[in-house]
């Protein structure tokens, strides 16, 4: 490991407080401050997967919409569904390409930046990743080709089937990749053996290794989170178009459909998430303690709401720094499944802790957003019941504003999962610091991190522009007034006249 500073040193042991002064190491005597290979690798992986997961979950969440619109379009020849199919299949296509090109760097980084992880865990993670490629990616890519370019070249039934197969591919891809991630959280079905002078994991029980305790929790939570995020996106786009056009049957239908899906998925996520948190307390008590910033092993209160009392609380969310609305001992009750007096393990029990502040605030952001989504769903449900869904300007504007928030919840949820697992990359088995390449230099790692930041920022911006152009095309096609450039910032689109 040489002279590299272990990233764990960047956090105060025990408290997990971030110490900004130690974030940089190997500082060049000149003007360039290089990040340590470890910190740069972690930042790079965290950043690239944050972008990738937006597109991956877009495929998962949009698949049911796309299948439904395609099926209705082919079955009924209803103009509404032709319009919706065409729009959302285009969004799906752009999202899929973005997902592919941002996804390949993910699997490469297991080798370029974290080769020790790949070597140690190869027997356990290689199989699921290979199955993901063979069972999911090929299915998605091949039949998306048919879906995008083959309308005139295949029969109607085959065309609808293609949309189904694309969706199955997206959901299967989530299945296999979460098998890998769940194994990293609750590893099972292996033993550590020495091979070529190195401790590596040897597969001993495939069914235990694939279906780890975390897997079902994670899969349901992630699929549902993707559905919520996309329902909010569809609702937001629909609400905007309805608001601009005032009479678009197609987009009224889409808005209603999205709200109905939200009515099912948003409450379900809260109920499921509550049980999931109990499971985390059982299997990863340290992560659970970080989620609640619970330091002493004793009875735990449940902080329903927490606000920083002073700036310090942002980096060190201890009870004394917070204004909280808490239910005394309900934390114990929830964690134990019914015992108000149950002891909850505190962070002080551990030698090293994750950066507590990131986990604590991410968890609160996710939960808070989750309740906001339930409120939006109920409000929408009431408006549907009252027959005023598309007339309420206030609701339409609220849904436009909420359209990116599903992704905010999804990302903060993953921050809880991934940052909360630190200092481990494989819980209890391999530390993240030990997984990093020993040949990687600070200069290389910083260079690639910078490149990924620049390119992926450009990518996200481009994706947003494309969505904007698609919406403007749609408004033009619906005969709505051309939206002026001052409503959305950025260059004016030049829409072709032929549609």
């Amino acid at each position: 490991m040489g002279s590299r500073v272990n990233l764990l040193n960047s956090f105060e042991p025990k408290t997990g407080r971030m110490l900004p002064s130690t974030l940089f190491s190997g500082v060049d005597p000149g003007w360039v401050a290089l990040l340590s290979p470890e910190l740069a690798s972690r930042a790079q992986f965290g950043w690239t997967i944050s972008v990738h997961i937006i597109f991956a979950s877009l495929s998962i969440g949009l698949a049911p919409f796309m299948i439904y619109f395609t099926w209705k379009d082919v079955r009924t020849d209803d103009e509404r569904f032709a319009r919706l199919r065409s729009f959302w299949v285009q969004v799906f296509a752009v999202g899929f390409v973005m997902g592919t090109v941002t996804g390949i760097p993910m699997s490469f980084q297991f080798g370029t930046n974290f080769p020790q992880f790949s070597t140690v865990a190869g027997e356990l993670i290689g199989g699921p990743l290979a199955f993901e490629a063979k069972m999911a990616f090929f299915l998605e890519a091949v039949f998306l080709g048919v879906l995008l370019y083959g309308r005139e070249r295949v029969r109607d039934g085959t065309y609808v089937l293609s949309s189904v197969l694309v969706g199955v591919g997206a959901w299967l891809s989530g299945f296999w990749i979460l098998i890998v991630n769940a194994w990293m959280q609750t590893p099972r079905g292996y033993e550590m053996v020495t091979r070529n002078g190195m401790e590596v994991a040897r597969l001993t029980d495939p069914s235990a290794a694939f279906l780890t305790p975390r897997m079902p929790w994670m899969y349901v939570h992630m699929i549902n989170a993707s559905l919520i995020a996309v329902a909010l996106l569809v609702a937001g786009v629909s609400a905007y178009i309805v608001w601009k056009t005032r009479e678009s049957e197609a987009w009224n239908t889409a808005l209603k459909l999205a709200v109905v899906i939200l009515l099912v998925t948003a409450p379900m996520q809260a109920v499921h998430g509550d049980a999931y948190a109990r499971h985390v307390e059982d299997t990863q008590p340290q992560k659970f303690a970080a989620m609640e910033a619970h330091y002493e092993t004793d009875e735990a209160d449940l902080h329903l709401l927490a606000f920083p009392r002073e700036v310090d609380a942002l980096t060190d969310p201890r009870a004394e720094n917070l204004v909280t609305v808490s239910l005394p001992r309900v934390g114990s009750f929830l964690a134990s499944g019914g015992d108000f007096g149950a002891e909850v393990t505190g962070l002080n029990e551990y030698e090293e802790n994750p950066p507590v502040a990131l986990v604590f605030w991410s968890f609160r952001a996710m939960v808070g957003l989750g309740f906001l989504f339930i409120a939006l769903a109920l409000w929408g449900g009431y408006l549907i019941y009252d027959g005023r869904l598309t007339d309420s300007d206030r609701y339409l504007k609220a849904m436009v504003a909420a359209s990116p928030l599903g992704y905010a919840a999804l990302l903060t949820g993953w921050y809880v999962t991934e940052i909360g697992r630190q200092p481990w990359v494989i819980q209890g088995e391999l530390r993240t610091g030990e997984a990093v390449s020993s040949t990687l230099t600070g200069a290389e790692a910083t260079l690639t991190l910078a490149a990924f930041v620049v390119v992926y920022v450009g990518l996200v911006a481009t994706a947003l522009y494309v969505l904007k152009w698609l919406i403007q095309d749609e408004l033009r096609a619906l005969g709505a007034d051309e939206p002026s450039g001052d409503r959305w910032r950025g260059p004016l689109p030049e829409v072709s006249d032929d549609d």
Binding site: L129, A133, F138, L148, E444
Partner: protein
């Protein structure tokens, strides 16, 4: 449950590690063959001057490139599943090359997809730069990476650079043949010219590559190059290359395509022959030394191989749906 179905301490067949070495190299070959002609389309796209011709090339590229690119992921993940130490070392030791390559793929993939999102000349020009630049850089960097892997040489060495040039050239050959089989006669005869030149560069490059490897015994591959199987692969490549030029001259473009596609397949086979029984020359790691334990390999065999057959059927279906001539409006109804 699975334990009773799968042997834990013995491979399903004694040669399973070698079968997996072949399977991984097969996936690599599929990638180089299929995405190779995508790269070729991207590079030849730069020679088109009218919007109509550009759109015709993009129509040929559109339905298939993404599926073709998945073979890269299949190759990488199969390598990880069967030989994790090789996966780790290959990427960690060449991390800038590998990341440069994935950036090239990123620009290549996004260019055409984004181009059609907006009717604006400047926007389209930027997207075209991304498409052409990515299509040229990707095979170059991937080839250099493969050369460094197979011959244990530096990036700026003759064997690595020649492998990169070879992959660029052979991609142009297959791209030209693929497009010629789908284009009108005028465009096809132009493509024949590019294809012929690229074939000669490829064959010359390959001979120079092998000569430079023999001269320096890079990666200890000199002896393997003189072995009968390697010599046979080289002879077949020359026959397929020159034969392809002849077929193209006679306007037999589909036959030209068939012979052109054997070139990158033979190149992958050659790399496999030069590697084996070693799998990672920089550390001298062998196939047997790098392979995972019997249970893990048996599992990926039993679950993975049937799916691989299914995947081959998908491709047969995909290319069946999108067969025949193509123009700016895409494939006809």
């Amino acid at each position: 449950m699975t334990e009773s179905l799968l042997p834990v301490d013995a491979y399903l067949v004694a040669s399973l590690p070698e079968v997996w070495f072949a399977a991984v190299m097969f996936a690599l070959g599929m990638y180089v063959v299929l995405d190779g002609f995508d790269f070729g389309i991207g590079m030849l796209y730069a020679t088109r001057t009218t919007e109509h011709e550009r759109e015709a090339f993009l129509s040929a590229f559109g339905p298939v490139w993404d599926a073709n690119e998945v073979w890269l992921i299949a190759f990488a993940t199969m390598l990880l599943a069967a030989f994790p130490r090789v996966y780790s070392a290959l990427l960690a030791d060449h991390n800038l090359l590998a990341i440069g390559f994935v950036f090239a793929l990123l620009f290549r993939g996004l260019g055409p997809e984004l181009r059609e999102q907006r009717d604006d000349e400047r926007w389209e020009r930027y997207c075209d730069y991304a498409f052409v630049g990515g299509s040229a850089a990707a095979p170059l960097l991937f080839g250099v990476l493969a050369g460094r892997w197979a011959f244990d040489v530096a990036t700026l060495s003759l064997p690595a650079l020649l492998t990169g040039v070879d992959l660029v050239a052979v991609s142009i050959v297959t791209g030209a043949a693929f497009l010629a089989a789908k284009s009108d006669p005028d465009v096809a005869s132009e493509l024949r010219g590019y294809g012929t030149a690229a074939t000669l560069v490829y064959l010359g490059g390959t001979v120079a590559l092998l000569a430079s490897v023999v001269a320096t015994d890079a990666g200890g591959a000199a002896e393997a190059i003189r072995s009968p199987p390697a010599a046979a692969v080289v002879a077949l490549s020359i026959a397929a290359g020159l034969g392809g030029i002849g077929l193209a001259r006679r306007g037999a473009y589909r036959a030209w395509l068939a012979s052109a596609l054997t070139l990158p397949a033979l190149l992958s086979a050659l790399i496999a022959l030069l590697l084996y029984p070693t799998i990672y020359p920089p550390t001298g790691l062998s196939v047997r030394g790098a392979v995972v334990s019997p249970l893990a390999l048996n599992l990926v065999t039993v679950l993975g191989f049937p799916v691989l057959l299914l995947v081959l059927w998908y491709f047969k279906y995909l290319y069946g749906v999108f067969s025949g001539p193509v123009d700016a409006e895409g494939y006809g109804g």
